[in-house]
């Protein structure tokens, strides 16, 4: 397994091979993070490249022995937030857009697959209307797969605060999803009522 700390150290001395190894080791989680903030897979790709350039440029600021991913998120955070705001402003769409959802591998059962995609769409829609800081906690924990500890380190918050805020974020998102489901359920009920009578 790659020793991330040693690789970063080698990168700082200008070792190009070490940089290639570092990119390969951190690409997946960082792409997943960028995809959470981007409306399309193309923009997720561009954002990932920008994030890596920013990391490379700031490598000398990294404190050896600290959490590399948490540091990476802090360095890239402004880029991520800017990307999210730009998308929201320009197209009223951001956070886990349908193109990203469609690009996920499909399940074998078509019915289960349709349900899963529908669920993701509802959650994506709810995320768009959630407070930015709360939405970010869901992206980091649930979509980017970070641990509470990593979020606490990156956001410089106590662990308990992260947990309680994330709980609040999920409750608000769950309420938004349920409201949306109820809105959809009403026309369905109206359509089925005459037939059942």
């Amino acid at each position: 397994m790659l020793d991330l700390e040693a690789t970063v150290e080698r990168c700082r001395t200008g070792d190009e091979e070490a940089w290639t190894a570092l990119v390969a080791a951190t690409m997946r989680p960082l792409y997943r993070l960028c995809a959470s903030y981007s409306p399309t897979s193309g923009e997720a790709e561009e954002l990932t490249q920008e994030v890596f350039f920013k990391l490379w440029e700031n490598l000398h600021r990294y404190t050896p022995g600290s959490n590399f991913m948490a540091w990476a998120w802090r360095v890239a955070r402004n880029l991520l937030i800017d990307a999210h705001r730009r998308c929201r402003r320009e197209r009223s769409a951001a956070w886990l857009d349908s193109e990203i959802i469609e690009s996920l591998p499909a399940e074998d059962d078509p019915h289960a697959e349709a349900e899963r995609r529908q669920r993701l769409r509802l959650i994506a829609h709810g995320l768009r209307h959630l407070d930015e800081e709360l939405a970010e906690l869901i992206l980091l924990r649930d979509f980017a797969g970070w641990s509470y500890q990593e979020i606490a380190e990156a956001a410089d918050l106590p662990l308990g605060t992260v947990k309680s805020r994330l709980n609040r974020a999920r409750l608000e998102l769950a309420s938004a999803v349920r409201r949306r489901l109820q809105i959809r359920a009403v026309p369905d009920a109206a359509v089925s009522a005459p037939g059942s009578a």
């Binding site: 897979s41 000398h60 649930d142 998102l173």
Partner: protein
């Protein structure tokens, strides 16, 4: 039995299996008897599962290669910063080390540095700034009537002209079209001249325009009078010929 608010506080930890056995049992009991909290717990579980679905998201295969390849593209970013003197000491040190070993980046550095030197050499002569400021100030002081105001005035004058001398279409039919066009173009030229040189005050323009308009209107009236007289004198002779000519015209 625990209240709904208390359960809401624990719902995330419950869904993630992060509660101790006693608390988890308490939440489970409540959820078993409360449809609202059960639905909420189910939706929170959906959110967590939706995130897990994203773990299947794979970066495009060429992306890592794109980022790893072409290192000079990365260094170019630092080169720009160095030329703009916005680079940190640590990055400048990295850059200088890289320049020693990379002829391509060294060439880019020389080109960028040369452009910068040329830019530095092109300093304005002493006193130019003050002269530019003074020109602007004089221009602001001189501008009594702007081009837009003059254009608006031209439209107003055109309307007034048509009111004074009558409908241009009718006049044209009466062979006075040339006279009308002369009036219109003269007025328009007059206003444009005033707008172009930017001199004169609004009242001078209006006064001159009115004087000019009066003169031109008199000319037109005379022309019309002359034309009408000529028509009357030639009408009986031409009536038949004109009728024949119209009959022969293609439609």
């Amino acid at each position: 039995m625990a209240g709904c608010d208390e359960i809401h506080e624990l719902i995330s930890a419950y869904v993630e299996g992060d509660l101790d056995a006693a608390s988890a049992a308490r939440v489970a009991r409540h959820v078993g008897g409360c449809a609202d909290c059960a639905e909420l717990a189910e939706t929170v579980a959906d959110i967590v599962a939706a995130g897990a679905a994203l773990s299947e998201l794979e970066p495009p295969p060429q992306l890592a290669a794109d980022i790893g390849a072409a290192p000079c593209r990365r260094w170019l970013g630092l080169l720009y910063r160095a030329v703009d003197r916005e680079i940190s000491d640590a990055n400048l040190s990295r850059l200088l080390t890289h320049l020693e070993s990379c002829p391509s980046c060294r060439r880019s550095w020389n080109d960028l540095a040369l452009i910068h030197q040329i830019g530095d050499a092109m300093t304005p002569p002493p006193g130019l700034l003050e002269r530019c400021v003074a020109i602007r100030r004089r221009a602001v002081e001189r501008r009594v009537i702007g081009r837009r105001t003059a254009t608006a005035a031209a439209y107003v004058l055109a309307v007034l002209t048509s009111l004074v001398i009558g409908n241009p279409v009718t006049l044209a039919r009466n062979q006075a079209a040339d006279a009308v066009q002369r009036v219109a173009s003269s007025v328009s030229q007059e206003v444009n001249d005033v707008a172009a040189d930017g001199r004169g005050e609004a009242r001078v323009v209006v006064w001159r325009a009115w004087r000019f308009l009066e003169r031109q209107a008199t000319l037109v009236r005379d022309a019309l009078h002359l034309s009408d007289s000529k028509d009357r004198s030639t009408a009986p002779a031409e009536k038949g010929a004109a009728h024949d000519a119209h009959e022969g015209e293609p439609r």
